[in-house]
């Protein structure tokens, strides 16, 4: 038990300093059909995960404008997650493919803008994958916490 508590402390302690790296805001853009339902399943199964994430629901990942991601960083998010249906499972046939293609090209632009690409994650979570949702959120949160806070300053300078 003692060990666990110590670990918890470590978990919370800032690793690299900088603003918010101990308690980063993470925004997740998810589709209504797969990932949102997957997150609901994590809830009904009472799985516990990091509370840094805030979910914005959209009909489909195909609806996610890359500028939403930029906007999220501008508003201080330290990590952005995009998650939708698995390839082949899109409720709207091909929206997730559009999203994937768009994201592949948009990544470079994000890098050019000065965003540390480790801060953006793209994943597939189906409605039955509550556990996958939980592990993605936890791992992503841990990763964001371990990154130096500086790299998104470009958006946060007042």
């Amino acid at each position: 038990m003692e060990d666990k508590d110590v670990k918890k402390e470590e978990h919370k302690a800032p690793k690299h300093g900088g603003d918010n790296s101990s308690d980063p805001r993470i925004i997740a853009f998810v589709c209504n059909w797969c990932t949102y339902s997957g997150a609901d399943l994590a809830g009904t199964s009472r799985m516990k995960y990091s509370d840094n994430v805030r979910v914005i629901k959209l009909p489909c990942t195909g609806r996610i404008d890359p500028l939403f991601i930029v906007e999220a960083f501008k508003k201080g998010a330290k990590g952005v997650l995009v998650s939708g249906c698995h390839p082949g499972d899109c409720h709207y046939t091909s929206g997730n493919y559009h999203s994937r293609r768009k994201y592949a090209t948009f990544r470079d632009l994000l890098g050019y803008l000065g965003v540390d690409l480790d801060r953006v994650e793209f994943s597939w979570v189906s409605a039955s994958e509550g556990n996958k949702w939980v592990s993605i959120i936890n791992e992503f949160t841990d990763k964001i916490k371990s990154l130096p806070g500086k790299s998104t300053d470009i958006f946060t300078k007042k």
């Binding site: 994590a42 516990k48 805030r54 914005i56 195909g62 999220a72 508003k75 559009h98």
Partner: protein, 660 residues
Amino acid sequence: MSRIGVFVCWCGSNIAGTVDVEKVREEAAKIPGVVSALDYKYMCSDPGQNSLRNIIKEKNLTGIVLAACSPHMHENTFRKAAAKEGLNPYFVEIANIREQVSWVHEDKERATAKAVDLMKMMVEKVKRDRPIEDVRVPLNKKALVIGGGIAGIQAALDIANGGVEVILVEKEPSIGGRMIQLDETFPTLDCSSCIMTPKMVEANQHPNIKLYTYSEVEDISGYIGNFKVKIKKKARSVVEKDCTGCGECWNACPMHKNVKSEFNVNLSERTAIYVPFPQAVPLVPVLDRSVCLHFKKGGKCQKCYDACGPKCINFDLQDEIIEETVGAIVASTGYDLMDTSMYGEYGYGKYKDVISGLQFERLLSASGPTEGVIKRPSDGKTPQTIVFVQCVGSRDPEKGVPYCSKVCCMYTAKHAKLFAHKVHGSQSYVFYIDIRSTSKGYEEFVRGTMEQDGAIYLRGRVSKIYEDEGKLIVKGADTLSGNQVEIAADMVVLATGVIPKKGSDKLAQMLGISYDKYGFFTESHPKLRPAESSTAGIFLAGMAQGPRDIPESVVSGSAAASKILGLFSKNEYEVEGTIANVNEATCVACFYCQRVCAYNAISKKEIKDRSGKLIKVVANVNPGLCTGCGACVNACFSKSIDVKGFMDDQIYAEIKALAV
């Protein structure tokens, strides 16, 4: 100015146990535009809903945010409650503080902070909600069924019996499809033509069914309720209404050799003018112009014309295009059998007595080329030993397809059974991988073939078939005993795998429905919407969706029919209003939106001035087809298209509400 009401639900202790609901309520009250904030034990209960309705009235609310459970649970409940008070139901937004907060987090302070964030997001969103009206699409109450096999016929009959007009289009000269080619059917051994022919006749005579045989769907446009269909009626060279089906013409035809009968799977010949089989519906011959001497030799031969009493043969008939408007479509195009020539080791095509399962059906059939006597195609002798090979092409990702063709286990058991019944003292061997006999009476049927009819089942695959002194030597493995076996057979029947009908992918593209990598049509949902295609108004039935047997095909035909009758029970089709919307003033007509739309929902619209002069072309969203996925929104360079309920400004406001 917005007048927002925020309602924080405790969900008993489900939310209140982890989230400080009072704090959420207090924070809500501080937000500009929020005129009422309230927390309550169970918002979804009747008293909860009543208080919501009272406050809408009392405070004249323009929007509602419920901080409660997932919108997938109770969004509709609260929308309905709001609508009862005259508020547009889309002015209700849910902050999911149960599934996303109280049930997944433990630290009360941090959970409460997150709940407040989610509530704020939704307040900002609801402030920017616009009223959305559900869309109503008028319905042409007429259905089109493509493919006249058992599934299509069943669908057509059920729809027609429901009082709705049906157009049934069949590519072949007769309806009946694959089922009419079969002899007896498992597991009851009732003869296929005995149970099929009455249905075919009924379809032909039904006052609500218009039958187009020897016809193909050439083009389809439009959307649910309003499909425009072009049907090509191929030139039959016989005037249908005058023909009596007497048979004088095909008896007179000199081309009685060299043309293989498609219906008998190449086991017999047919004439140039022919009916595919004696019970054809309609019983009107077709003249095959590709082999007819009249067409090949410059009009000299007209023996069929001379023999025809009513003179209904017309060599000058042309293809005809028929246009129809229908409200719904059933795609039931059926299946083909795989070409087994890639199995060189089985010698199909090389050895005459290695035949396919469908060919064996024709040999069994009383109306087949041998009148039901099992004879070897090579020498006409009755075989004493037959080896049946299952899974030829199925479950073989290397050479064939990875999926199971589902019907082969059962029809092979039936073949072995009928062989035992017809040739006494005969012996059959069946090579199988697994036996799949899962429907009612199937397992008993297979066991009967083994135990009463003495078929020897060998679990293993066949490696080679070759001819030796008039016998077919079948080499294979019996994996249960671990031995290699060699059987000298008189005939080998290959249970060839099932593949979608040739050209079904083209039809799917025309219909705008999706299909899998093999060409089978895909269901809108594999479990919960098995009769619907991905496009509204188009339904699926039969083997076109994947391997299935007769009962399942009949069920799927009826399912498609009942979906259509249900759809047609109203005068209009109602679609959720959360669909795409074009700003015609800023649209620059690049039509990138059209390219990404998976539903063909975007078309070009011309805007003209009063004198009819074209001002500009813009994108136009068809509400009958649009599903509101939003792919078009991101494809639009000029920001001229948006999805109602998920507008750009709303999402930016949500992000802003989360600013740190």
